[in-house]
């Protein structure tokens, strides 16, 4: 693979994570458990979609097919999507959404923190501003993980269930292939394997504080979102998200 393509593919993974997760969170808009939380979830969704936009814009600079950001979002098939499986999981109840988000937020904060040292000036300055958002997101979701874990019996059971379902999916944040290794060795993007242990330690401490049990099963090697092998959930997201744009090919909006 030529460098341009490597760079494009590597950035696409992180743009897709944020696009798909932002989309998922936006499904809550108008349906939150309180007005305050409705607003907060939309805020996080907006930040993630904003981050996705910047990373997509950076990625297409070296897209050999010269696609626009909207081409990538609205006219790419499911097999071309490169997000981790975790972010395409359905919202479930508020506990599921919060836990999925917390796992991502910790990862995102570590990733952005490290991205500040990228050799690419645009990416490092993006990382500096996005890091502030990520820190705030993590503070918000972490406080909810603790509140739900240590709240009522019902809230504890709900978020405990989310822990056992989602923890094994976190494996994919740190899995690496040739693309990741090459962009890391060039100093473009962080080496995610480096912060796997930090992520695990921090999450374990939060679970402890939230009086939650560590899951029995902690990883599954079957996930290949980074290679474009997705669950049926992403297919549903794309058929909805792309429906209007695809019904009017060539139209501008």
């Amino acid at each position: 693979m030529v460098w341009e393509e490597l760079r494009f593919q590597a950035l696409l993974r992180h743009a897709d994570d944020r696009l798909v997760l932002g989309h998922r969170l936006s499904e809550w808009c108008g349906h939150g458990p309180t007005l305050e939380e409705d607003i907060a979830l939309s805020n996080v969704a907006l930040d993630l979609l904003g981050q996705a936009k910047v990373i997509f814009e950076q990625s297409i600079k070296t897209d050999l097919k010269k696609r626009s950001v909207d081409d990538l979002i609205y006219f790419r098939e499911i097999r071309g999507y490169r997000n981790v499986i975790l972010v395409e999981q359905p919202n479930g109840d508020f506990a599921c959404t919060i836990l999925r988000q917390y796992f991502f937020d910790v990862f995102n904060r570590l990733w952005l923190n490290s991205l500040q040292s990228s050799i690419d000036k645009d990416l490092s300055s993006f990382a500096r501003s996005a890091l502030k958002e990520a820190i705030y997101h993590e503070r918000h979701t972490k406080s909810w993980v603790v509140r739900l874990g240590d709240g009522t019996k019902e809230s504890n059971e709900r978020i405990q269930e989310a822990v056992s379902v989602f923890y094994p999916l976190s494996y994919e944040f740190f899995a690496q292939d040739e693309i990741d290794q090459k962009v890391f060795s060039k100093g473009l993007l962080p080496n995610t394997a480096c912060f796997e242990n930090v992520w695990k330690e921090e999450v374990a401490l939060t679970l402890l504080e939230a009086t939650l049990q560590f899951p029995k099963r902690t990883s599954t090697q079957m996930l290949r979102g980074r290679e474009g092998r997705h669950t049926e959930h992403l297919d549903r997201i794309l058929s909805e998200m792309q429906s209007l744009a695809r019904a009017h090919p060539g139209a501008s909006w």
Binding site: L19, H23, S26, E27, C29, G30, H31, G32, P33, T34, L35, E36, E37, D38, I39, S42, N43, A45, L46, L49, G50, A52, K53, F56, V69, D70, I73, Y74, F94, V146, R147, L148, D150, G151, T152, E154, S155, R158, E240, M241, S243, L244, A245, H248, G250, A251, S252, W253
Partner: protein
């Protein structure tokens, strides 16, 4: 001070255009009417999130997705702000919401219409938010301080929403023939319901004269409706879209655009709960509110645990 002299004092303040503030004395009916109006307004903001929220996941470009999500989020913020204004009058948010969910409180009739195309997103921003803004611009002068101040903030955002909606319409109108048809169809469906948003004609408006006397409302329903029509007609022309009213004419003496007759039977059926979406709008709010009860309960339980823990720590010091 006797009740009568308090009343006299209150009326004097209204006459001098002074603002009434939360701790000031006010007639209980003034208070009740304001709670009714402000909470109805708050409910409208929250229920109003649903028709547009319906399109967030299908917005046709990333830019549109982000701006629509931000817009609908603004409406949630308005709701929060308005519930806060109602609380300054001694109402509880939870009670107000329960009245909405129990079918005892109203919200704007407009949100009982379905939003079935992307054109509807444009027309809601352009016309519905503009109609809301006409009403709210009047309310910035309202005699109750917290409500008037909430309106100033909200109007700024609604103006932005209106421009966003008009821009969506302009792009559709200048787009492919399918997009143009989408814009015209949305205008055809939303025009008359938007005119009904200002409420029944003056001779049938039950609360108007009292509210105008208290300077809660500064203009009548028909005056506001006329103000809106005069704004919207030239905008439709600029957008190259046809307002679906064959009788619409300009009065050469006054310069006002005069509409044809409004189908008030349709308005009354909507208020009686027979609109196309009345049932599902309330059902959706009920699902979110009751479905989220365990979350609110958990937050309360956790807060209580923290409070006890702190108290224990203090004792052991």
């Amino acid at each position: 001070m006797t009740e009568a002299s308090r009343q006299f004092d209150f009326e004097g303040r209204i006459a001098r255009d002074e603002k009434i503030e939360p701790n000031d004395w006010m007639p209980s009916r003034y208070r009740r009417q304001l709670v009714r109006m402000i909470s109805q307004h708050a409910h409208s903001e929250v229920v109003g999130m649903l028709p547009e929220g319906n399109w967030i996941t299908r917005a046709p470009s990333l830019r549109r997705k982000i701006s629509l999500l931000a817009k609908v989020q603004d409406e949630a913020g308005h709701g929060l702000y308005l519930y806060g204004a109602a609380e300054t009058l001694g109402a509880e948010r939870e009670d107000l919401i329960n009245r909405l969910l129990g079918g005892d409180a109203r919200y704007s009739s407009i949100f009982n219409y379905p939003s079935v195309t992307w054109g509807d997103v444009g027309v809601i921003g352009w016309l519905v938010d503009q109609a809301a803004m006409v009403n709210q611009t009047m309310l910035t002068k309202c005699s109750y301080g917290p409500y008037a101040r909430a309106m100033i903030q909200i109007c700024k955002e609604e103006n932005f929403h209106k421009r966003q909606g008009m821009e969506i319409m302009a792009v559709l109108s200048a787009g492919t023939s399918a997009q143009r048809a989408m814009a015209q169809d949305a205008l055809d469906r939303w025009w008359w319901p938007t005119l009904m948003m200002f409420g029944p004609p003056d001779e049938e408006s039950p609360h108007s004269s009292e509210l105008i006397g208290w300077k809660v409302k500064m203009k009548s329903n028909d005056e506001l409706r006329q103000w809106f029509v005069d704004l919207a007609v030239p905008q439709a022309e600029a957008l190259d879209l046809q307002i679906p009213d064959p009788e619409l004419v300009r009065d050469s003496k006054t310069g006002h655009w005069i509409s044809g007759p409004i189908n008030w039977d349709e308005f009354r059926s909507i208020l009686e709960g027979e609109g196309p979406c009345n049932r599902e709008r309330i059902e959706s709010r009920r699902e979110s509110h009751f479905g989220g009860a365990w979350v609110r309960e958990a937050a309360r339980a956790y807060e209580e645990k923290c409070r006890k823990k702190k108290a224990l720590e203090r004792e052991s010091l």
